[in-house]
């Protein structure tokens, strides 16, 4: 069912329950985000996409990437309150990751910078969870996940050991908004596809891409065929 919402004075029709950010896109309004990606389920961890919503006479801040649109909703994406909250969020992210260019430019655009808070330990990960979700939802592997909690929360492989399921696709390095996961070829351990956060050691093909005669590739295909066969037999 379609519902109409008012976003910054524009009337927009979107599916009921679709996130508000879709309406903003339709209306051509830019909302800054760090953890939102069209290919993935909304997660709402960076909170940069907050907007002000008036619903049933209540005025409040919500994350637009995962807040469902409903009838009679009025949305403001650029009020003073929204701007101030975003500024604060960027400032706090910048305290965590002072060396990330993306955050620096964002902070500059919003008129803030490195200031009152002390940097505890420079880090480049903002815990947006994009790499984790991409690995699980799109690649379908789930080699990395989030671990621990609070200030110790981090992206890690199970038991913090070299992953035995990582296929070395490099999606995590591609999708990372701050560039904290890097592809590094490790000459000491050839033929080993291992993943270390912050130092992702993945090796170029040892058989100069001769896939037809490659042992690794053949075994991979065998595995795939077996999985497909199993899946089909289950379905019947």
């Amino acid at each position: 069912m379609k519902v109409s919402v008012i976003i910054d004075g524009q009337m927009v029709q979107i599916e009921q329950g679709a996130p508000i950010i879709d309406a903003a896109k339709k209306a051509g309004i830019f909302i800054p985000t760090l953890c939102y990606h069209e290919a993935l389920k909304p997660y709402g961890s960076c909170c940069l996409c907050i907007v002000e919503v008036i619903q049933d006479g209540q005025r409040r801040l919500v994350t637009s990437c995962n807040f469902p649109a409903a009838v009679g909703m009025e949305i403001f994406t650029n009020t003073a309150r929204v701007r101030q909250s975003r500024r604060m969020i960027v400032e706090l992210l910048l305290v965590r990751c002072p060396d990330v260019p993306l955050l620096q430019t964002m902070a500059k655009q919003m008129g803030t910078g490195l200031s009152r808070f002390k940097t505890r330990e420079a880090n480049e990960c903002i815990l947006c969870g994009l790499c984790v979700r991409f690995c699980e939802e799109v690649v379908g592997v789930g080699a990395i996940g989030l671990a621990n909690r609070g200030v110790d929360r981090e992206v890690a492989t199970p038991f913090k050991m070299a992953s035995d399921v990582c296929i070395g696709c490099g999606s995590c390095t591609y999708i990372c908004p701050t560039g904290c996961i890097k592809m590094v070829s490790d000459r000491k351990t050839p033929n080993l596809r291992s993943l270390k956060m912050g130092n992702c050691s993945l090796v170029p093909c040892p058989n100069s891409y001769q896939c037809e005669t490659c042992q690794i590739e053949q075994e991979f295909f065998k595995d795939i065929k077996r999985v497909i066969a199993e899946f089909r037999s289950k379905g019947q």
């Binding site: 699980e136 789930g142 080699a143 996940g145 989030l146 621990n148 890690a156 492989t157 199970p158 038991f159």
Partner: protein, 155 residues
Amino acid sequence: MDIEKVDRILEEHEYRHSAIIGIMQDVQDIENYLPEETLRYISDKLELNLTKIFDVATFYKAFSLVPRGRHTIKVCCGTACHLAGAARNLDQVERTLHIKAEETTDDRMFSIETVNCLGACALAPVVVVDEDYYDAVKPGKIEKILSYYRSESER
């Protein structure tokens, strides 16, 4: 850990993904910690990603991925206990067992934990061994309490 035991736990929870915390609690009740191979086995059986299980296992402080002692000594370091001298008690426990807080003795008999309030402030300073509460503990009492558990496990 025995695979049969794990299977029984999984069956009790009907192989539900949502029961992962309950499953891990049951495993920890038996083993006192979460062995890596058991978690891998659970991940296999539930068809739940190991990263998710690791996430939950590291999120909650109640779960431990390293072996724990048979008896857990919880020294309360909350406000009331702190004022009543919990730090001295903790020192004494650490000195007696030759380990630091959050560690386990080599014979895997005792683990020391610090907690930040057990809701028993009237009994401050409180030390809890397994399920037994000891109130108004003084450093001099520690040896006596620990020797009780030592002799109990010899019996």
